[in-house]
């Protein structure tokens, strides 16, 4: 499209995946994104992306580039890394490529949300789609997270303000509690807040669970007593939403917190109902997890070297680089965690994704469109609800098509 408006576009700026964005286009550029939050506005930008193909610093044809990527993958143990901003169709094609090459496969998840997923694999989890929270939750407990900065529309769109089937008056039918842990604070607008020191957080979650189970807990410190009082309020609510940020890069690996939250939410389903809502960032990260699970059985950190998927959660992309000769990044490399880009520096790198040619030191770079702006397909909301991503602007090559071309080059053994 060069002129016009697209209604109900899906924004992948964060994991909320708001699908009420009205995008206006003038002269082939995005000039407005009504309803988008600041993160969304930045994510859409003006919709322009480079459309170049580079091999070893020189402009190249698609054929030469895809052959060069195939060579890199064939040269030895390689990592295929799913970065943000690609459709699930692209993710599926990249997983297939990793399977065929016997490569290591990973995604942004391994260095962000992995600890919560691992806890979930040990214990399970009690959760809900965001619409259930919208329609039912009468008590929202924000655990060390204020969505205002990283998920700006969460409160307005899902979690506090909107009316719902069981909360017809919206915000006035709900109570909002902030649990501030160390310097990580909950929403400023919370009607109640309790403060926990980092050192006491795990103990607090333990006594809260005990309180939900009806145990007597004498002699607690005031801090822990406040946590117990909150737990008792939670048991009296009709539907509790316990909300935390599952992927604070570099801080999200607190498995004691995650164990405690998962256990507390499960236990609350005895006396009442509770859903643990784990916030995820943008770029269709949940889609990468979903497609990896259905094709390999594992949500991240997969090794195909033995001819079938093996789970290597102890070796995320940021630490698994030793022994890997090269890496193919599929997606927006500039939106990958810094720990990963640091770990990859000095390796042979190919990038197929939005703004690939802006990645320094990439041996091969193929610019593609951005999922939901140029590339149509499926994108997943943070709660695993799949949404249709539109193509708003004509863009460079579709990432999925480029990956398939690489797969053909790998299969035929074509050389650059």
């Amino acid at each position: 499209m060069t002129e016009g408006t697209v209604s109900h576009a899906v924004c992948l700026g964060c994991g909320c995946a708001c699908d009420d964005i009205e995008v206006t286009v003038r002269n082939g550029r995005i000039t407005g994104a009504i309803n988008a939050c600041p993160i969304g506005v930045e994510w859409y930008g003006d919709g322009t992306v480079p459309g170049k193909i580079m091999v070893r610093g020189a402009q190249a044809t698609m054929e030469k580039a895809t052959r060069a990527v195939a060579e890199l993958l064939r040269a030895g143990p390689a990592l295929i890394y799913l970065a943000p901003d690609v459709t699930t169709e692209t993710q599926r094609a990249a997983i297939e490529l990793a399977d065929r090459c016997g490569a290591r496969l990973d995604s942004v998840t391994s260095d962000t949300a992995a600890p919560g997923i691992l806890v979930g694999q040990r214990r399970g989890r009690a959760t809900a789609t965001l619409g259930e929270i919208r329609n039912r939750a009468d008590l929202l407990v924000f655990w060390a997270v204020d969505p205002a900065t990283r998920y700006p529309r969460l409160l307005a769109r899902y979690a506090v303000d909107p009316s719902g089937t069981q909360v017809p008056k919206g915000a006035s039918d709900r109570r909002v509690v902030a649990v501030d842990v160390g310097g990580a604070t909950g929403p400023r607008t919370a009607s109640t807040r309790i403060a926990l020191s980092n050192a006491n957080e795990a103990a607090a979650l333990g006594v809260m669970r005990a309180a939900v189970l009806g145990r007597e807990l004498p002699g607690l410190s005031s801090e822990l007593q406040a946590a117990v009082d909150l737990a008792r309020q939670m048991t009296k609510a009709r539907y509790v939403a316990l909300i935390h940020d599952s992927e604070l890069e570099g801080q999200g690996g607190d498995s004691q917190r995650l164990e405690g939250l998962v256990g507390l939410a499960q236990t609350l389903n005895g006396p009442t109902r509770c859903a643990l809502s784990s916030l995820r960032a943008g770029g269709n990260r949940s889609g990468a997890d979903a497609a990896m699970v259905w094709q390999t059985g594992f949500p991240f950190a997969v090794d195909f070297a033995a001819g079938a998927p093996r789970y290597r959660p102890e070796q995320p992309a940021s630490r698994a680089i030793d022994g890997v000769g090269g890496a193919l990044i599929v997606g927006a490399a500039h939106r990958a965690p810094e720990v990963v880009t640091r770990a990859l520096s000095g390796k042979r790198i190919a990038v197929i994704g939005p703004r690939a040619t802006q990645v320094a030191d990439a041996e091969v770079a193929v610019d593609t469109g951005i999922a939901g702006i140029h590339d149509a397909g499926i994108g997943y909301r943070m709660d695993d609800v799949p949404l249709p991503l539109p193509s708003i602007l004509a863009g460079p090559a579709s990432a999925a098509d480029v990956i398939r071309t690489v797969a053909t080059a790998v299969a035929t053994g074509a050389k650059s």
Binding site: E132, T296, P309
Partner: protein
């Protein structure tokens, strides 16, 4: 692959019960993916001398391609680590690796189904809002012709229509929903009970118990959706998972549900889980006989059994309250996902142990249903994969049905504590014949699903064919067919998977009154989090199936 899409299968003993062929040695001719009456003399042949020829298997009820399945897969890294599945050596080199366990990955699921001689399967529980995910998984599930059933028994918009007395209008909503989700049939799980679980009422235990503050009862939901499915002339009637699954004494609910729908076409699924006598907290017994006698007397009703097999399973259902109960009594890991405005999801990995009294009772109840059923055309073989066990256990189940000795042997190893009154211990001599097996695994389910071109080998049928090498070890014979053809293509040759073509998507698109959409759109605007315009799955592949005439 034979040239010109032609192949003559010669010398096999053909079991094609839909065409009254019971082990007759005869040729089966294939052209362009279909069965034809004859072929020119020089057509390529496949020698099936000494072998058994049947239509491809049809799984009427399994869980293998849904958001819930994927949550189960995610929960089971230990199973997947223990069962890596290398890529099969396909002729085109396009095989994919994966992992197995009770909930295998998509490609492995397809390869394993085909390896058993199954060529058609339905995922039995798809939340409408997750239908897009199911179709993406099915895109990665080759070989099988496949479709899904869409969960509507706890849909809040439907409940609103029922409470307003607008049941006629509800049928149009059902038709729209089937089209929007690319589904094949309507599924009801624990009617009203999931909504009760989500709203704090915990569950509904009687079909006349209303959801709190409403006049919506399981009976009203059942009647509305049954009438809608039949009124829309869907090829498959409403597919019902009754209230009180797994509870002692639940046979009363099951029979009450069947009675509520007397005279109306309906399918009751995984019946084994709904045939218990006794009383909650006071013991269990088998009530299989009373339930199957009711089914025997009602030709308008069909069932699949949902047999429990000893060994690992993963319980995986929209029936959230049941899974909570299993979690709280077993202490195993547990997933619960409340799905907005529509349904729920619960998952608990499980294991049926022969030394456990309740598991043995469940095993026995399933077999009683099979053995006491008078009309095999209305009783389908299923394990409710992966709930009662993996579909990979179908051959072992077939052996139990065909061999009393195998049943007795298993009984001796099992815990008999709750088997008093079970017809199985009274000596059920019946042994299924090969033709009866062909009925309960392909001809019957195809007929119940309204798949006119499947489940038989008459002229015009899809050339989905399974050829077994004869073996006295029944389980071995059914677990590794010599040849499997899908739409005329040899996918399994000499027991090896050689091709994995894309299967067809099975779905329906009944007409509806578009004027209802204004109100549906308002419901989305008022309570949904996905825009109405983004809800429907676009571009479901394939032509919609014909409605009943």
């Amino acid at each position: 692959m034979p040239t010109g899409g032609r192949l003559r299968i010669v010398g096999g003993a053909v079991h094609d019960p839909a065409n009254n062929i019971d082990g007759e040695i005869r040729d089966v001719c294939i052209e362009d993916g279909r069965i034809v009456a004859s072929l020119p003399g020089g057509a390529p042949t496949l020698n099936a001398n000494g072998m058994i020829v049947m239509p491809g298997g049809v799984d009427i009820h399994a869980h293998f391609a849904s958001s819930s399945c994927n949550h189960a897969r995610r929960l089971l890294p230990e199973e997947h680590t223990a069962d890596p599945v290398p890529a099969p050596k396909l002729l085109d080199g396009a095989g994919r690796s994966g992992t197995g366990g009770t909930v295998p990955t998509t490609f492995s699921t397809a390869y394993r189904y085909a390896g058993l001689g199954y060529t058609t399967a339905f995922d039995a529980a798809v939340a409408p809002i997750m239908a897009r995910h199911t179709h993406a998984e099915l895109d990665d599930t080759p070989i099988l012709d496949a479709g899904c059933f869409v969960l509507l028994g706890n849909d809040e918009y439907l409940h609103r229509q029922i409470s307003r007395g607008e049941r006629e209008r509800a049928a149009h909503y059902v038709a729209w929903m089937l089209a929007a989700t690319g589904a094949y049939a309507v599924k009801i799980v624990n009617p009203g009970g999931i909504e009760a679980w989500k709203s704090g009422q915990r569950n509904l235990t009687d079909i006349d118990q209303a959801l709190a503050g409403t006049n919506v009862t399981p009976r009203a939901i059942l009647e509305t959706l049954t009438n809608a499915a039949n009124g829309l002339r869907l090829p498959h009637p409403v597919h019902i998972h009754c209230n009180n699954l797994g509870q002692a004494g639940n046979s009363a609910t099951t029979i009450a549900t069947m009675e509520a729908l007397t005279g109306r076409r309906a399918h009751f699924t995984h019946l084994q889980f709904h045939c218990y006598g006794g009383e909650a907290g006071k013991g269990w017994s088998s009530a299989a006989k009373s339930v199957i006698e009711h089914v025997n007397a009602h030709p308008e009703h069909t069932v699949d059994v949902g047999q429990v097999m000893f060994g690992p399973a993963t319980t995986l259902t929209a029936d959230g309250p049941v899974e909570y109960l299993l979690y709280s009594t077993s202490g195993r890991k547990w997933v619960n996902i409340d799905v907005e405005l529509e349904t729920g999801c619960g998952i608990v990995p499980y294991s049926y142990k022969e030394k456990a009294a309740v598991a043995t009772l469940q095993w026995a109840v399933g077999l009683e249903l099979f053995l006491l059923a008078r009309d095999p055309w209305r009783v389908v073989l299923s394990t409710d994969h992966p709930n009662g066990g993996s579909f990979l256990s179908y051959p072992a189940l077939i052996q139990l049905l065909m061999t009393r000795g195998a049943r007795d042997e298993q009984l001796q190893r099992a815990n008999p504590k709750l088997l008093a009154g079970s017809a199985l211990t009274d000596g059920l001599d019946r042994e299924y014949t090969l033709n009866e097996i062909a009925i309960v695994t392909r001809a019957g389910p195809a007929r119940i699903l309204g798949l006119r071109q499947k489940g038989h080998l008459g002229v015009g049928a899809d050339a989905d064919i399974t050829i077994y090498g004869r073996d006295t070890d029944i389980a071995k014979m059914f677990s590794s067919p010599r040849f499997v053809l899908k739409a005329g293509q040899l996918v399994v040759e000499e027991g090896q998977l050689r091709r994995a073509p894309q299967g067809r998507r099975l779905h329906v698109r009944p007409p509806y009154d578009e004027s209802i959409l204004r109100d549906v759109r308002k419901h989305f605007d008022d309570y949904g989090t996905v825009a109405f315009d983004n809800y429907a799955v676009r571009d479901v592949p394939g032509t919609p199936a014909a409605l009943q005439s």
